[in-house]
Each structure stands twice: as C-alpha cells, then as structure tokens.
C-alpha cells in the first residue's frame, strides 16, 4: 500500500524538484490532451516547448510576454511570502496601463523622447493606488483582501471599457473602443532597432535582481517574511504586520502597474479593451512555480510565456482554441500543488497498515515540526 509519511523537516531538494516534476506531469497530460483531440502530440508539444525558443524572432516574442509576467510575479512573490493574498494583480495591471495612457496621450510631436519614462512612472502610481485601496480597506476595516482585490479587477475592467469607449476614444478610430495610437515619444524604445523586444525586459531583469537582494539580504525583506510565516513571532519581535501588509500591496501593485504601463507603451502602443490578457492571474501561477523567489520567477515566467506562444501557434496551425493556454496553466498549477506534497511528506510503500502508536517517536517529531511551521 502506498502511503504518505510526514517528513521531520521539509525537504529542500523536493522544493526545487517539484516544479520540474510538475512540468513533466503537465507535458504528459498535454500529450494525452492532444491525442484525445486527434492531433499529433509531438507536433503539438513542439509548439509549446521548442518553437518559442527556436529563433531570434521567437525569442523577441517570448520576451514581450515574459516581461509583464516577471514583473507581476515578482511583486506577488513578495506579497505571498508575507502571507498577503493579492489576487487582483490583473486590476492593478489595468490601472497601470490606464495611468500610463493618460500621460502618453499628452505627448505632442515636440515632446522629449523620454516622455515614456513619465508614462511608466504614472503606471507604477496607478498600480500602487489600486493595490493601496485594498491595503487600506484591509488595514482600516479588516476587509478580506482576497475578495476585495478581486472585486477591484472587475471595477478596473469596467473603468477601462468606459475610458476607451467614452472620453479617450480615438475620434479617427472607426468607432472601435480604443485610444489613438501613441506618438513615438511615449513609446518604450526597442532593445535593438527593428526588434519587438523592448527595454522593458532588462528593466524587469534588473528589478528581479533587486528583488532577490531585498528578500535575501535586507532586514526589511526578512521582517516581511517573518511576518508572513509566524505572525505571533513577528509581533513579539516588534515587526509590524501592518507595514508588511502595506509593503506587500504597494510593491505588488506598483510592479503590476509598471507591467501594464509597459504593455500599452510597448507592444500595444494604444489602450484598448484587449490590453488585459490575464497576465495578472497567470502571474499567480508563475510566482508559485518560481517558488516565490525573485530569480525563480524569471524561469517560470519564460515557461509560462512559452505556454502563451504555444497556445497562439496551435490556434493558427492546428485550429485549436487559443484558450488551450489557460488549460495548460491550470494543469501546471494543479500538478505543482500535488508535487509539493512531497516537500512535507515522503512516499512509502508498505504491505501492512502500520499503526500510529508503533511509530510514536517519529510521529511526535513530525507533529512538533508541523506545529512550529504553522505557529
């Protein structure tokens, strides 16, 4: 009989192996899905796992998707580490794109070519504002942050739709719900002339590096994590859970806002109702798969971008709906959570059903370990 036996201490090896194991499981389930749909699984998986990395053009495309995912997931990692559940990054992303658009639309042909910097800063402010509302409602009224941040996603969507079909609508846009295309001064410059990749990518990588330093090398990052893992201990040590809450929401909101700003001033070049692509939600998975580590999210963001590109390719080439991406994303998170069980437990094969009493010492040790983890 197969059973789970609690480990005395959580396994560090499994913590790193689990995402890989989850990926393997997802790939297997993906192959089965392609077979079930009557498509060649090798060809299908090729689109998800190989082609997105196969050429410079493909890599440029990959970077456009990975940049917002890295930024949003970076912020969420900080939030989740301190046990603050910001589920509404999508809304903060939208507000970032809205604020950036406000600045970008002020551009004139004589504007300085660095106006885009202002647009990006406005985006950060927009995301922080939207995240700050949640932090304020939580702090002042102890309203549930999961549900409030999520409700604000729907509010942000409605606001976006109002702006692009009302006051900000492009008068020459054939009545489509979109703003005018931004002037060059308000656009993020490309990394190399002619490439789709833009300076957002190095920016995201630098911020991820800074995030790593913040989390692993600063006292503030340490306080944040203690506050999340052991609120009582944190209070005893005099660390404020209020400041952890505010930090988590302002950082994750600001980074999501930056991602939104980069999206409109980068690849899109205008604000439309199609700007939110679900990066705010996908980044939750990216953060978990990246082990809530600022450097880990870089890898998982690349992986998730491959899923996006694979989904687009299987739409154009295999005639499958693009939402296949969402299916794979969901499967990956399920697989990861399942595999994560192996961090705290080990699989044991045993003939007989052992009684708890005969294993008293180890059970006791595991219990203490579990108690100290939860405390």
């Amino acid at each position: 009989m197969l059973r789970l036996e609690p480990r005395v201490e959580p396994s560090r090896t499994m913590a790193y192996l689990s995402p890989l194991l989850a990926l393997v499981l997802t790939v297997l389930m993906g192959a089965a899905l392609f077979l079930a749909l009557g498509k060649d699984p090798v060809r299908g998986l090729d689109m998800f796992l190989v082609e997105p990395l196969a050429s410079w053009r493909a890599l440029g495309e990959l970077s456009i998707k990975a940049t917002p995912l890295i930024l949003v997931a970076l912020g969420l990692s900080v939030a989740f580490r301190s046990n603050v559940w910001n589920i509404g990054a999508e809304g903060q992303f939208i507000l970032g794109s809205v604020f950036a658009t406000r600045v970008a639309l002020m551009a004139t042909p004589s504007s300085t070519p660095s106006l885009f910097v202002l647009a990006l800063l406005a985006g950060v402010a927009g995301g922080m504002l939207w995240g700050g509302i949640v932090a304020w409602l939580r702090d002042r009224f102890s309203a549930n942050e999961i549900l409030v941040s999520l409700m604000l996603v729907y509010v942000a969507e409605a606001l976006l739709s109002y702006l692009v079909s009302g006051p900000w609508k492009d008068p020459h846009g054939y009545n489509f719900p979109q703003t005018a295309t931004f002037l060059d001064a308000a656009r993020v410059p490309p990394l190399v002339a002619g490439s789709r990749a833009n300076v957002g990518l190095p920016l995201a990588l630098v911020l991820a590096g800074l995030g790593w330093v913040f989390v692993n090398r600063t006292y503030a990052g340490y306080k944040l994590e203690v506050g999340g893992l052991a609120p009582l201990a944190a209070r005893y040590a005099g660390f404020s859970s209020r400041s952890a809450l505010w930090t988590a929401f302002l950082v994750s909101g600001g980074l999501a806002g930056l991602a939104g700003a980069l999206e409109v001033t980068g690849p899109d070049g205008q604000l439309t109702t199609h700007v939110p692509l679900g990066y705010g939600f996908a980044a939750i998975i990216v953060a978990f798969v990246g082990r809530l580590s600022p450097l880990g999210v870089i890898f998982s963001a690349v992986l998730m971008s491959m899923f996006y590109i694979g989904g687009e390719m299987s739409q154009s080439r295999l005639g499958l709906p693009k939402s296949l991406t969402g299916v794979f994303q969901g499967l990956l998170l399920f697989a990861l959570l399942t595999c994560d069980t192996l961090i705290g437990y080990r699989l044991r094969f045993s003939r007989e059903r052992s009684l708890g009493a005969s294993r008293l010492p180890s059970a006791l040790a595991a219990r203490t370990a579990a108690a100290s983890r939860e405390g």
């Binding site: 009224f141 309203a143 549930n144 549900l147 604000l152 729907y154 606001l159 978990f288 994303q329």
Partner: protein, 308 residues
Amino acid sequence: MQVEALALLLAASVNSGTALALAALGLLVNERAGVLNLGAEGLMLVAAIAGFAAAVHTHSEFLAFAAGAAAAGALSFLFALLVVFLNTNQYATGLALSLFGSGFSAFVGVPYTQETLAERARPGLGALARLPVLGPLLFSFHPIVYLTVLFVVGVSWFLFRSKGGLVLRAVGESPEAAYALGYPVRRIRVLAVVAGGALCGLAGAFISVVYTPLWVEGMVAGKGWIALALTTFATWRPARVLLGAYLFGGVTMLELHLQGEGVDVPMQFLTMLPYLATIVVLVLIARNPTWIRANMPASLGKAFHPGA
C-alpha cells in the same frame, strides 16, 4: 401600476439572485465542514458550459442541470482529494481550480459561442401566474428558483436538526475531536466538498441555461467570488444566504433598471455596482470581527492530519 412594477423588479431580483444563492449555499456546506473553496468561480464556469452543451444536444433542461452538477461535482472531487488527502494549501488549490475552470470552459466552449437554445414556453403555474402582482411575484419562476428555496430549507434542516449535520459541523469546528469520536473526518470533508460543488454546478447551469441563456466566455463574471463573500455576510446560515443573494440580485436589477430608464450615467459605472456593493459588504461585515469569529467554523481553511 407602481405596485405592479415593484413586483416585477422584486421578481427579477429573486431570479437574478438564485444563481448566487445556490452557489453560496454550496460554499456554505463546504465551509461548515472546514473547507474553503476559492474555486467556485471555476466550478460555475465549467458547469455553465457543461449545462449549456447538454441543453444544446439533448434539449432537456433536466439533463442540462444534471450535467452541470456532475461536471462541477467531479472537479470538486479532484479539489477535495488534493486539499483533504494531500493537505495542499486550500487558498492556492482553490485558485488553481478557478484558473483551470476559466481556461477549460473557454477551451471547450468555443464551438458553442454561436449556439442558442430553443425558445421555451414561459414557466409559471398556469392561471396563478396571471394574477396581478402576486403572479409575477410568486408564481412565474423557473422551477429551479423554487427548488433553491427548498434546498435552503433542506440544508438548514440537515445542518441544525439532523445527526448527519451535527457531525458535519463537528468536523468543521474541531476535526480532532470528531476524529477521536471515530468519525471519518476526511471522508466527510470530501463528501461535503462534492455536495457543495454540485450546488455550485447547479448555479452555473442556471446562468447559462435559464438566466442568460447563452454561452459566453467568462460569463459567470465574478458570481463565484461574490458567493464566497455572501457566506461570510450570512454568518454561515442558509436562510441569511438566501436573503443576501436576493439583495445582491436586487443590486444587479437596479443596474439594469437604471440602464433601461436611460439614467445619464455611463453603462460601465452601473456594471461596477455589484462589485462595489460586494466591497461595501466586505467592509461592513468586517467591522464586527468578534461576531464573525463567533460564527465562523473554527477549522475553516486549516488542514487536518489524522493521528498527528
């Protein structure tokens, strides 16, 4: 004339609150057993497409609801296995369910976006439905609306008047004590999650088969999340869930009503109403934390390790 209009508005609120009531009732059953399911939105979406597809192919509303409940029940069984037997984090697993559900429903729903359901005779209890005021207010709903009220009564009776309900609540309050008394805590939790999931499934099918009736990607539009807020708002009591759901239905109706009246407010601001109302409710209920804590199932969201 005014009374007539008011009756219609109230009836519409009941109609639009029914999906919320069913989903919140299902979540209440989950939470009373100590399991927090953030996957309600995903369950409802999958049930909505399953129900709609079944309605398109079989032309039977009964089968449509059965398909919705079965699909959501099956998915919540998977969720239950993870959180109950593998002790995965309930927040993260629920989110996974919501994300998977929205992706999966969009994926399988593509062929159905152009489909419509055959026009049905208006439901109603014959001559009674034609009574002025009382007709629309009491006698012209879809059977599911009446069934929802029955479910509320049934769940209420089960939880507070039957032995099974007592055990279920014990599992939610103190799984250790229930386990020590010899109750199979994990099996009871799985059953509660699946039953609650099936109710969420009925809610999803109601939206796509009766209320809208159409399939549009993401059509549940946050009702699963609002239902989660409702269970807390109702302090985990079925009758209050029903009342709260109708109130929320009223807010949605107000939105449509104002639009119809041609009020000079952009449509998008009216769309925000139910979500803003939810935030207001979340703030209001949290003002009294002791009251919430006194009513909340004590082990809500916590994993249970038998024998540990």
